[in-house]
Protein backbone atom coordinates (compact mmCIF):
# COMPACT_ATOMS: atom_id res chain seq x y z
CA UNK A 1 0.00 0.00 0.00
CA UNK A 2 1.31 3.47 -0.93
CA UNK A 3 1.84 5.80 1.99
CA UNK A 4 3.13 9.33 2.45
CA UNK A 5 6.48 9.83 4.20
CA UNK A 6 4.76 11.82 6.94
CA UNK A 7 3.42 8.51 8.25
CA UNK A 8 6.99 7.28 8.71
CA UNK A 9 8.88 10.42 9.74
CA UNK A 10 8.58 12.52 12.88
CA UNK A 11 10.94 15.26 11.70
CA UNK A 12 11.62 16.58 8.20
CA UNK A 13 13.76 19.71 8.15
CA UNK A 14 16.35 21.74 6.27
CA UNK A 15 19.19 24.01 7.39
CA UNK A 16 22.44 25.55 6.20
CA UNK A 17 25.60 23.63 6.81
CA UNK A 18 27.77 26.68 6.23
CA UNK A 19 26.91 29.30 3.57
CA UNK A 20 27.34 26.98 0.58
CA UNK A 21 25.55 23.80 1.66
CA UNK A 22 21.98 22.88 2.45
CA UNK A 23 21.39 19.84 4.63
CA UNK A 24 18.09 17.98 4.92
CA UNK A 25 17.24 15.62 7.79
CA UNK A 26 14.51 13.01 7.86
CA UNK A 27 14.11 11.35 11.28
CA UNK A 28 11.92 8.28 11.35
CA UNK A 29 9.27 7.50 13.94
CA UNK A 30 10.73 4.12 14.74
CA UNK A 31 13.37 1.58 13.87
CA UNK A 32 11.03 -0.28 11.51
CA UNK A 33 10.59 2.69 9.18
CA UNK A 34 14.31 3.53 9.36
CA UNK A 35 15.18 -0.04 8.33
CA UNK A 36 12.53 -0.06 5.59
CA UNK A 37 13.72 3.21 4.02
CA UNK A 38 17.35 2.11 4.20
CA UNK A 39 16.71 -1.40 2.84
CA UNK A 40 14.53 -0.15 -0.02
CA UNK A 41 16.88 2.78 -0.77
CA UNK A 42 13.83 5.05 -0.95
CA UNK A 43 15.84 8.23 -0.48
CA UNK A 44 18.21 8.06 -3.41
CA UNK A 45 20.07 10.63 -5.57
CA UNK A 46 17.66 10.28 -8.53
CA UNK A 47 14.67 11.08 -6.31
CA UNK A 48 16.35 14.07 -4.68
CA UNK A 49 17.49 15.44 -8.05
CA UNK A 50 13.96 15.18 -9.38
CA UNK A 51 12.36 16.78 -6.31
CA UNK A 52 14.85 19.65 -6.17
CA UNK A 53 15.48 20.00 -9.92
CA UNK A 54 19.24 19.74 -9.45
CA UNK A 55 21.99 17.75 -11.19
CA UNK A 56 23.56 14.81 -9.32
CA UNK A 57 26.81 16.77 -9.02
CA UNK A 58 25.03 19.10 -6.59
CA UNK A 59 24.51 16.28 -4.09
CA UNK A 60 27.32 15.98 -1.57
CA UNK A 61 25.96 12.89 0.15
CA UNK A 62 23.00 10.84 1.36
CA UNK A 63 23.77 9.13 4.65
CA UNK A 64 21.75 6.96 7.00
CA UNK A 65 22.53 7.63 10.67
CA UNK A 66 21.46 4.75 12.85
CA UNK A 67 21.80 6.35 16.33
CA UNK A 68 19.14 8.95 15.42
CA UNK A 69 17.14 6.69 13.03
CA UNK A 70 17.65 9.35 10.42
CA UNK A 71 18.77 9.97 6.88
CA UNK A 72 20.69 13.10 5.94
CA UNK A 73 20.89 14.62 2.47
CA UNK A 74 23.47 17.33 1.85
CA UNK A 75 23.45 19.39 -1.32
CA UNK A 76 24.76 22.55 -2.86
CA UNK A 77 22.82 25.68 -2.00
CA UNK A 78 21.18 27.14 -5.11
CA UNK A 79 22.58 30.53 -4.09
CA UNK A 80 25.11 31.02 -1.24
CA UNK A 81 23.51 32.25 1.98
CA UNK A 82 22.80 35.96 1.79
CA UNK A 83 24.03 36.37 -1.79
CA UNK A 84 21.92 38.37 -4.23
CA UNK A 85 18.65 36.53 -4.90
CA UNK A 86 18.72 34.27 -1.84
CA UNK A 87 15.32 33.98 -0.20
CA UNK A 88 16.20 31.82 2.81
CA UNK A 89 19.32 32.96 4.67
CA UNK A 90 19.20 30.13 7.25
CA UNK A 91 18.04 27.54 4.72
CA UNK A 92 15.36 26.54 7.20
CA UNK A 93 12.40 26.35 4.76
CA UNK A 94 13.69 24.16 1.93
CA UNK A 95 12.23 20.87 3.13
CA UNK A 96 8.75 20.97 1.54
CA UNK A 97 9.54 18.84 -1.55
CA UNK A 98 10.43 15.97 0.81
CA UNK A 99 6.89 16.00 2.21
CA UNK A 100 5.64 14.55 -1.10
CA UNK A 101 7.74 11.38 -0.94
CA UNK A 102 5.72 8.16 -1.05
CA UNK A 103 6.68 4.65 -0.04
CA UNK A 104 5.22 1.14 -0.22
CA UNK A 105 4.38 -0.64 2.97
CA UNK A 106 2.87 -4.12 3.07
Amino acid sequence: MKKNIQEAARIIRSKNSGPYELTLDIMFKNRRYFDLFRAENIINPELICRLYRIPQSDILGILYFEPAQAVKITMKRRIPSGALGDGDIYGAQQHAPLLEIEFEEN
Binding site: P19, Y52, R53, A68, G85, Q94
Partner: protein, 458 residues
Protein backbone atom coordinates in the same frame (compact mmCIF):
# COMPACT_ATOMS: atom_id res chain seq x y z
CA UNK B 1 43.17 9.70 31.90
CA UNK B 2 41.69 11.54 34.89
CA UNK B 3 39.21 9.60 37.01
CA UNK B 4 37.46 12.59 38.53
CA UNK B 5 34.42 14.15 36.89
CA UNK B 6 34.74 17.32 34.85
CA UNK B 7 31.46 19.22 34.87
CA UNK B 8 30.49 21.92 32.36
CA UNK B 9 27.62 24.38 32.44
CA UNK B 10 26.38 25.73 29.11
CA UNK B 11 23.93 28.57 29.79
CA UNK B 12 22.45 29.08 26.33
CA UNK B 13 22.84 28.33 22.61
CA UNK B 14 24.24 31.75 21.81
CA UNK B 15 25.30 34.44 24.28
CA UNK B 16 22.39 36.86 24.32
CA UNK B 17 19.65 34.31 23.54
CA UNK B 18 18.86 34.17 27.28
CA UNK B 19 18.08 31.38 29.74
CA UNK B 20 15.82 30.92 32.77
CA UNK B 21 17.56 31.97 36.00
CA UNK B 22 16.30 28.80 37.72
CA UNK B 23 18.02 26.57 35.15
CA UNK B 24 21.27 28.50 35.40
CA UNK B 25 21.30 28.40 39.21
CA UNK B 26 20.49 24.67 39.16
CA UNK B 27 23.61 24.29 37.03
CA UNK B 28 25.68 26.42 39.42
CA UNK B 29 24.44 24.24 42.31
CA UNK B 30 25.98 21.20 40.56
CA UNK B 31 29.36 22.92 40.98
CA UNK B 32 30.63 23.02 37.39
CA UNK B 33 34.37 23.21 36.68
CA UNK B 34 33.73 25.47 33.70
CA UNK B 35 31.02 27.82 32.46
CA UNK B 36 31.28 28.25 28.72
CA UNK B 37 29.17 29.69 25.94
CA UNK B 38 29.38 30.02 22.21
CA UNK B 39 28.46 33.48 20.99
CA UNK B 40 28.53 33.14 17.24
CA UNK B 41 27.43 31.65 13.95
CA UNK B 42 27.57 32.30 10.21
CA UNK B 43 23.88 31.38 9.96
CA UNK B 44 22.50 34.92 10.12
CA UNK B 45 24.32 35.60 6.86
CA UNK B 46 27.27 37.68 5.65
CA UNK B 47 26.06 41.08 6.87
CA UNK B 48 27.30 40.72 10.44
CA UNK B 49 30.83 39.57 9.63
CA UNK B 50 31.09 42.16 6.87
CA UNK B 51 29.74 45.12 8.84
CA UNK B 52 31.44 44.30 12.15
CA UNK B 53 28.09 44.33 13.94
CA UNK B 54 26.56 41.74 16.25
CA UNK B 55 23.40 39.83 15.42
CA UNK B 56 22.66 39.54 19.13
CA UNK B 57 21.15 42.18 21.36
CA UNK B 58 23.49 44.20 23.61
CA UNK B 59 21.17 44.29 26.61
CA UNK B 60 20.68 40.53 26.55
CA UNK B 61 24.34 39.72 25.92
CA UNK B 62 25.06 41.80 29.01
CA UNK B 63 22.35 40.02 30.97
CA UNK B 64 23.66 36.54 30.06
CA UNK B 65 27.31 37.46 30.54
CA UNK B 66 26.63 39.03 33.94
CA UNK B 67 25.25 35.72 35.25
CA UNK B 68 28.22 33.82 33.84
CA UNK B 69 30.87 36.18 35.23
CA UNK B 70 29.37 36.73 38.67
CA UNK B 71 28.59 33.07 39.35
CA UNK B 72 31.71 31.71 37.66
CA UNK B 73 33.99 33.94 39.71
CA UNK B 74 32.03 33.12 42.89
CA UNK B 75 32.61 29.41 42.19
CA UNK B 76 36.23 30.13 41.29
CA UNK B 77 35.98 28.43 37.89
CA UNK B 78 36.89 29.68 34.41
CA UNK B 79 34.35 31.45 32.23
CA UNK B 80 34.79 31.12 28.47
CA UNK B 81 33.00 32.92 25.64
CA UNK B 82 33.98 32.10 22.06
CA UNK B 83 33.10 33.77 18.75
CA UNK B 84 32.52 36.96 20.71
CA UNK B 85 30.10 39.44 19.21
CA UNK B 86 28.62 36.87 16.84
CA UNK B 87 31.18 36.80 14.03
CA UNK B 88 34.33 37.01 16.14
CA UNK B 89 36.30 39.63 14.17
CA UNK B 90 38.08 42.55 15.87
CA UNK B 91 35.04 44.88 16.14
CA UNK B 92 32.86 42.03 17.47
CA UNK B 93 35.48 41.12 20.08
CA UNK B 94 35.82 44.77 21.10
CA UNK B 95 32.03 45.10 21.38
CA UNK B 96 31.72 42.09 23.65
CA UNK B 97 34.76 43.18 25.65
CA UNK B 98 33.17 46.57 26.21
CA UNK B 99 30.12 44.85 27.68
CA UNK B 100 32.32 42.63 29.84
CA UNK B 101 34.25 45.64 31.19
CA UNK B 102 30.98 47.39 32.02
CA UNK B 103 29.80 44.37 34.02
CA UNK B 104 33.18 44.14 35.76
CA UNK B 105 32.86 47.78 36.90
CA UNK B 106 29.24 47.45 37.97
CA UNK B 107 29.85 44.26 39.94
CA UNK B 108 33.39 45.23 41.08
CA UNK B 109 34.79 41.95 39.83
CA UNK B 110 38.40 40.79 40.10
CA UNK B 111 39.75 38.43 37.44
CA UNK B 112 42.36 37.91 34.76
CA UNK B 113 40.98 38.34 31.24
CA UNK B 114 42.48 36.69 28.20
CA UNK B 115 41.18 38.25 24.97
CA UNK B 116 42.14 36.28 21.87
CA UNK B 117 41.88 37.79 18.40
CA UNK B 118 40.86 35.59 15.47
CA UNK B 119 41.59 38.03 12.65
CA UNK B 120 43.86 36.76 9.90
CA UNK B 121 46.35 39.07 8.27
CA UNK B 122 45.47 39.46 4.58
CA UNK B 123 49.10 39.35 3.47
CA UNK B 124 49.56 36.06 5.34
CA UNK B 125 46.40 34.63 3.77
CA UNK B 126 47.55 35.65 0.29
CA UNK B 127 50.97 34.12 0.91
CA UNK B 128 49.29 30.87 2.01
CA UNK B 129 47.09 30.97 -1.10
CA UNK B 130 50.11 31.40 -3.39
CA UNK B 131 51.79 28.25 -2.02
CA UNK B 132 48.63 26.15 -2.22
CA UNK B 133 47.82 26.09 1.49
CA UNK B 134 44.21 27.25 1.07
CA UNK B 135 41.43 25.12 -0.36
CA UNK B 136 37.69 25.79 -0.71
CA UNK B 137 34.99 24.18 1.39
CA UNK B 138 32.59 22.10 -0.77
CA UNK B 139 30.79 24.23 -3.40
CA UNK B 140 32.70 27.40 -2.44
CA UNK B 141 34.59 29.02 -5.34
CA UNK B 142 38.36 28.88 -5.60
CA UNK B 143 39.86 31.67 -3.54
CA UNK B 144 41.52 34.64 -5.23
CA UNK B 145 43.80 37.37 -3.88
CA UNK B 146 41.13 39.86 -4.95
CA UNK B 147 38.55 38.15 -2.74
CA UNK B 148 40.94 38.30 0.21
CA UNK B 149 41.69 41.98 -0.43
CA UNK B 150 37.99 42.81 -0.81
CA UNK B 151 37.05 41.18 2.51
CA UNK B 152 36.02 43.69 5.15
CA UNK B 153 36.88 41.19 7.86
CA UNK B 154 38.77 37.92 7.63
CA UNK B 155 38.78 35.50 10.56
CA UNK B 156 39.80 31.93 11.27
CA UNK B 157 37.92 29.54 13.52
CA UNK B 158 40.57 28.84 16.14
CA UNK B 159 40.75 25.48 17.86
CA UNK B 160 41.28 24.92 21.57
CA UNK B 161 45.04 25.61 21.56
CA UNK B 162 44.90 29.43 21.96
CA UNK B 163 42.40 28.99 24.80
CA UNK B 164 44.74 26.55 26.55
CA UNK B 165 47.53 29.09 26.22
CA UNK B 166 45.33 31.65 27.98
CA UNK B 167 44.43 29.16 30.76
CA UNK B 168 48.13 28.43 31.23
CA UNK B 169 48.80 32.16 31.51
CA UNK B 170 46.43 32.21 34.47
CA UNK B 171 43.40 33.72 32.72
CA UNK B 172 40.12 32.75 34.37
CA UNK B 173 37.92 34.71 31.98
CA UNK B 174 38.50 34.09 28.29
CA UNK B 175 36.94 36.05 25.49
CA UNK B 176 37.85 34.58 22.14
CA UNK B 177 37.22 35.88 18.64
CA UNK B 178 35.92 33.42 16.05
CA UNK B 179 36.35 29.99 17.58
CA UNK B 180 35.31 26.44 16.69
CA UNK B 181 32.15 26.19 18.82
CA UNK B 182 33.02 22.94 20.70
CA UNK B 183 36.49 24.27 21.62
CA UNK B 184 35.00 26.66 24.18
CA UNK B 185 33.89 23.62 26.16
CA UNK B 186 36.58 21.08 25.21
CA UNK B 187 39.86 23.05 25.39
CA UNK B 188 40.19 22.99 29.18
CA UNK B 189 39.27 19.32 29.81
CA UNK B 190 41.55 18.21 26.96
CA UNK B 191 44.40 20.19 28.53
CA UNK B 192 43.65 18.40 31.80
CA UNK B 193 44.03 15.02 30.10
CA UNK B 194 40.45 14.07 29.23
CA UNK B 195 39.81 12.22 26.00
CA UNK B 196 39.59 14.72 23.10
CA UNK B 197 36.91 12.69 21.30
CA UNK B 198 34.56 12.73 24.28
CA UNK B 199 35.38 16.33 25.19
CA UNK B 200 34.80 17.66 21.66
CA UNK B 201 31.61 15.64 21.20
CA UNK B 202 30.35 16.98 24.53
CA UNK B 203 31.26 20.49 23.38
CA UNK B 204 29.47 19.94 20.10
CA UNK B 205 26.24 19.23 21.97
CA UNK B 206 26.65 21.82 24.75
CA UNK B 207 27.43 24.64 22.34
CA UNK B 208 23.75 24.67 21.41
CA UNK B 209 22.51 24.97 25.00
CA UNK B 210 19.37 22.89 25.44
CA UNK B 211 18.63 22.59 21.70
CA UNK B 212 19.70 18.93 21.91
CA UNK B 213 17.26 18.23 24.76
CA UNK B 214 13.62 17.27 24.27
CA UNK B 215 11.74 19.51 23.83
CA UNK B 216 14.66 21.51 22.52
CA UNK B 217 15.36 25.13 23.42
CA UNK B 218 18.02 27.58 22.32
CA UNK B 219 17.23 29.73 25.35
CA UNK B 220 17.88 27.24 28.15
CA UNK B 221 20.88 25.63 29.86
CA UNK B 222 22.46 22.22 29.45
CA UNK B 223 24.90 20.45 31.74
CA UNK B 224 27.62 17.96 30.83
CA UNK B 225 29.65 15.62 33.02
CA UNK B 226 32.81 14.24 31.49
CA UNK B 227 34.56 11.18 32.92
CA UNK B 228 37.36 8.95 31.67
CA UNK B 229 35.11 6.74 29.54
CA UNK B 230 31.96 8.71 28.77
CA UNK B 231 30.02 11.91 29.15
CA UNK B 232 26.57 12.48 30.58
CA UNK B 233 24.10 15.10 29.39
CA UNK B 234 21.32 16.59 31.46
CA UNK B 235 18.84 19.42 31.09
CA UNK B 236 18.47 21.84 34.00
CA UNK B 237 14.82 22.72 33.57
CA UNK B 238 12.01 20.38 34.66
CA UNK B 239 10.40 21.21 31.29
CA UNK B 240 12.88 19.08 29.30
CA UNK B 241 15.03 15.97 29.30
CA UNK B 242 17.77 14.49 27.21
CA UNK B 243 16.73 11.36 25.35
CA UNK B 244 18.81 8.91 23.36
CA UNK B 245 17.18 10.24 20.21
CA UNK B 246 17.47 13.92 21.04
CA UNK B 247 21.18 13.61 21.82
CA UNK B 248 21.91 11.46 18.77
CA UNK B 249 19.79 13.61 16.47
CA UNK B 250 21.72 16.70 17.46
CA UNK B 251 24.80 15.37 15.71
CA UNK B 252 22.89 15.85 12.46
CA UNK B 253 22.09 19.49 13.11
CA UNK B 254 23.69 21.89 10.62
CA UNK B 255 26.33 19.31 9.72
CA UNK B 256 27.05 17.63 6.38
CA UNK B 257 28.03 14.18 7.68
CA UNK B 258 26.90 12.82 11.08
CA UNK B 259 29.69 10.24 11.34
CA UNK B 260 32.63 12.47 10.49
CA UNK B 261 32.74 15.95 11.92
CA UNK B 262 35.83 17.86 10.86
CA UNK B 263 37.17 20.72 13.00
CA UNK B 264 40.43 22.59 13.47
CA UNK B 265 43.29 20.11 13.25
CA UNK B 266 41.19 16.97 13.34
CA UNK B 267 38.07 14.94 12.75
CA UNK B 268 35.55 13.73 15.30
CA UNK B 269 34.46 10.18 14.45
CA UNK B 270 31.09 8.97 15.69
CA UNK B 271 30.91 5.59 13.89
CA UNK B 272 31.26 3.69 17.18
CA UNK B 273 29.33 6.08 19.30
CA UNK B 274 26.58 4.85 21.63
CA UNK B 275 23.85 6.82 23.37
CA UNK B 276 22.17 5.30 26.46
CA UNK B 277 19.33 6.72 28.56
CA UNK B 278 20.05 6.52 32.29
CA UNK B 279 16.34 6.57 33.12
CA UNK B 280 16.26 9.94 34.87
CA UNK B 281 16.32 12.31 31.91
CA UNK B 282 20.07 11.97 31.48
CA UNK B 283 21.88 10.39 28.54
CA UNK B 284 25.32 8.80 28.60
CA UNK B 285 27.47 8.90 25.46
CA UNK B 286 30.46 6.65 24.74
CA UNK B 287 32.74 5.80 21.88
CA UNK B 288 33.32 9.25 20.34
CA UNK B 289 36.82 9.36 18.89
CA UNK B 290 39.00 12.25 17.74
CA UNK B 291 41.68 11.86 15.12
CA UNK B 292 44.34 14.52 14.60
CA UNK B 293 44.92 15.46 10.99
CA UNK B 294 48.07 16.83 9.46
CA UNK B 295 48.57 19.50 8.28
CA UNK B 296 46.51 21.43 10.82
CA UNK B 297 43.75 23.32 9.00
CA UNK B 298 41.47 26.11 10.20
CA UNK B 299 38.37 27.44 8.51
CA UNK B 300 38.62 30.99 7.18
CA UNK B 301 35.56 33.20 6.95
CA UNK B 302 35.39 36.51 5.13
CA UNK B 303 32.69 38.86 3.86
CA UNK B 304 32.90 41.70 1.37
CA UNK B 305 30.73 44.65 0.41
CA UNK B 306 28.18 43.93 -2.31
CA UNK B 307 26.43 47.29 -2.58
CA UNK B 308 23.42 48.96 -0.99
CA UNK B 309 19.88 47.70 -0.66
CA UNK B 310 16.44 49.30 -0.67
CA UNK B 311 13.16 47.37 -0.43
CA UNK B 312 9.46 47.95 -0.78
CA UNK B 313 6.77 45.63 0.59
CA UNK B 314 3.38 45.38 -1.12
CA UNK B 315 0.44 43.01 -1.58
CA UNK B 316 -2.08 42.16 -4.23
CA UNK B 317 -5.63 40.81 -3.82
CA UNK B 318 -6.53 40.90 -7.51
CA UNK B 319 -7.02 37.44 -9.06
CA UNK B 320 -6.29 38.65 -12.59
CA UNK B 321 -3.04 40.33 -11.49
CA UNK B 322 -2.06 37.25 -9.47
CA UNK B 323 -2.72 34.89 -12.38
CA UNK B 324 -0.49 37.00 -14.66
CA UNK B 325 2.20 37.89 -12.12
CA UNK B 326 5.11 36.35 -14.04
CA UNK B 327 4.47 38.20 -17.28
CA UNK B 328 3.63 41.44 -15.44
CA UNK B 329 6.92 41.43 -13.53
CA UNK B 330 8.80 40.56 -16.71
CA UNK B 331 7.18 43.48 -18.55
CA UNK B 332 7.76 45.90 -15.65
CA UNK B 333 11.41 44.91 -15.51
CA UNK B 334 11.73 45.55 -19.28
CA UNK B 335 9.97 48.91 -19.08
CA UNK B 336 12.14 50.09 -16.18
CA UNK B 337 15.24 48.99 -18.03
CA UNK B 338 14.19 50.92 -21.15
CA UNK B 339 13.46 54.06 -19.11
CA UNK B 340 16.76 53.87 -17.25
CA UNK B 341 18.74 53.14 -20.42
CA UNK B 342 21.48 51.62 -18.26
CA UNK B 343 22.13 54.97 -16.57
CA UNK B 344 21.49 53.48 -13.14
CA UNK B 345 23.51 50.35 -12.35
CA UNK B 346 22.13 47.65 -10.09
CA UNK B 347 19.74 44.70 -9.80
CA UNK B 348 16.04 44.37 -9.18
CA UNK B 349 14.72 41.23 -7.53
CA UNK B 350 11.04 40.43 -6.98
CA UNK B 351 10.34 38.13 -4.03
CA UNK B 352 6.78 36.96 -4.65
CA UNK B 353 5.34 35.47 -1.45
CA UNK B 354 2.42 33.18 -2.14
CA UNK B 355 4.22 31.94 -5.25
CA UNK B 356 7.90 31.01 -4.97
CA UNK B 357 9.73 33.57 -2.80
CA UNK B 358 11.02 30.87 -0.43
CA UNK B 359 12.25 28.24 -2.88
CA UNK B 360 12.70 30.14 -6.14
CA UNK B 361 13.09 27.96 -9.24
CA UNK B 362 13.25 24.79 -7.10
CA UNK B 363 9.64 25.37 -5.98
CA UNK B 364 7.74 22.25 -7.08
CA UNK B 365 4.26 23.82 -6.76
CA UNK B 366 3.74 25.51 -10.11
CA UNK B 367 0.04 26.34 -9.76
CA UNK B 368 -0.63 29.36 -7.58
CA UNK B 369 -3.56 28.79 -5.22
CA UNK B 370 -3.21 32.00 -3.20
CA UNK B 371 -6.03 34.53 -3.15
CA UNK B 372 -3.47 37.16 -2.23
CA UNK B 373 0.27 37.51 -2.76
CA UNK B 374 3.00 39.56 -1.16
CA UNK B 375 5.76 41.16 -3.20
CA UNK B 376 9.03 42.39 -1.79
CA UNK B 377 10.71 44.54 -4.42
CA UNK B 378 14.42 44.59 -3.76
CA UNK B 379 16.99 46.88 -5.38
CA UNK B 380 20.72 46.37 -4.87
CA UNK B 381 23.10 48.89 -6.41
CA UNK B 382 26.64 50.25 -6.02
CA UNK B 383 25.40 53.43 -4.30
CA UNK B 384 22.46 54.09 -1.93
CA UNK B 385 21.11 56.68 -4.37
CA UNK B 386 21.10 54.21 -7.27
CA UNK B 387 19.32 51.61 -5.11
CA UNK B 388 16.69 54.19 -4.09
CA UNK B 389 16.19 55.28 -7.71
CA UNK B 390 15.89 51.74 -9.07
CA UNK B 391 13.43 50.80 -6.35
CA UNK B 392 11.34 53.94 -6.67
CA UNK B 393 10.94 53.67 -10.45
CA UNK B 394 10.21 49.93 -10.31
CA UNK B 395 7.66 50.37 -7.53
CA UNK B 396 5.76 53.17 -9.30
CA UNK B 397 5.87 51.32 -12.63
CA UNK B 398 4.45 48.16 -11.08
CA UNK B 399 1.82 50.13 -9.14
CA UNK B 400 0.32 51.60 -12.29
CA UNK B 401 1.26 49.01 -14.90
CA UNK B 402 -1.59 48.42 -17.37
CA UNK B 403 -1.43 44.72 -18.07
CA UNK B 404 -3.78 43.06 -20.60
CA UNK B 405 -7.13 42.13 -19.05
CA UNK B 406 -6.78 44.60 -16.16
CA UNK B 407 -10.10 45.72 -14.64
CA UNK B 408 -8.74 47.25 -11.40
CA UNK B 409 -7.27 50.42 -12.87
CA UNK B 410 -6.60 52.54 -9.76
CA UNK B 411 -3.46 50.74 -8.61
CA UNK B 412 -1.98 47.24 -8.57
CA UNK B 413 -0.42 47.23 -5.12
CA UNK B 414 -1.53 47.48 -1.49
CA UNK B 415 1.25 49.09 0.58
CA UNK B 416 1.21 48.43 4.32
CA UNK B 417 3.55 51.34 5.06
CA UNK B 418 4.22 54.95 4.24
CA UNK B 419 6.97 55.50 3.26
CA UNK B 420 6.66 52.52 0.96
CA UNK B 421 10.41 52.40 0.27
CA UNK B 422 12.87 51.36 2.93
CA UNK B 423 16.60 52.02 2.58
CA UNK B 424 18.16 48.94 4.21
CA UNK B 425 21.78 50.02 3.86
CA UNK B 426 24.96 48.05 3.28
CA UNK B 427 24.84 44.65 1.59
CA UNK B 428 27.57 42.06 2.11
CA UNK B 429 28.31 38.64 0.70
CA UNK B 430 30.59 35.84 1.82
CA UNK B 431 33.95 36.18 0.10
CA UNK B 432 35.99 33.54 1.92
CA UNK B 433 34.89 30.16 3.26
CA UNK B 434 38.02 28.09 2.93
CA UNK B 435 40.41 25.88 4.83
CA UNK B 436 43.91 27.18 5.51
CA UNK B 437 46.91 25.21 6.71
CA UNK B 438 48.65 26.72 9.71
CA UNK B 439 51.90 25.81 11.45
CA UNK B 440 51.12 27.00 14.98
CA UNK B 441 47.53 26.37 16.10
CA UNK B 442 48.14 28.30 19.35
CA UNK B 443 49.47 31.36 17.54
CA UNK B 444 46.49 33.70 17.87
CA UNK B 445 47.20 37.07 19.56
CA UNK B 446 46.43 36.87 23.28
CA UNK B 447 45.99 40.03 25.31
CA UNK B 448 45.94 39.66 29.10
CA UNK B 449 44.26 42.24 31.31
CA UNK B 450 43.92 42.11 35.09
CA UNK B 451 40.78 43.48 36.69
CA UNK B 452 40.72 44.39 40.37
CA UNK B 453 37.31 45.22 41.81
CA UNK B 454 36.20 46.20 38.34
CA UNK B 455 39.18 48.40 37.49
CA UNK B 456 41.84 47.58 34.96
CA UNK B 457 45.26 47.23 36.63
CA UNK B 458 48.12 48.72 34.70
Amino acid sequence: MPNAEFRVLSPTAILGYGFPEESFMAGVARRPHLIACDAGSTDPGPYYLGSGKSFTNRAFVKRDLRYMLVEGLKLGVPVVVGSAGGSGAAPHLAWCRGILEEIAREEELSFRLGAIAADIDKAAAKAALRVGKIRPMPFAPELTEEAIDASCHLVAQMGGEPLVKAFQAGCNVILAGRCYDPANFAALPIALGYDPGLAIHLGKILECGAIAASPGSGADCAFGTLTGESFILEALSPARNFTRESAAAHTLYEKSDPYRLPGPGGVLHLENCSFAELGDGRVEVRGSRHENTSPYRVKLEGARKAGFRAVSIAGSRDPIFIAKIDEILHAVRAQVSTMMQNTVPGSIIFHVYGKDAVMGPTEPEKVNHSHEIGIVIEAVAPTPEAADTLLSVTRSTLLHYGYPGRISTAGNLAFPFSPSDIAVGDVYEFSVYHLMEIERPDDFPLQIVNFKRGRIES
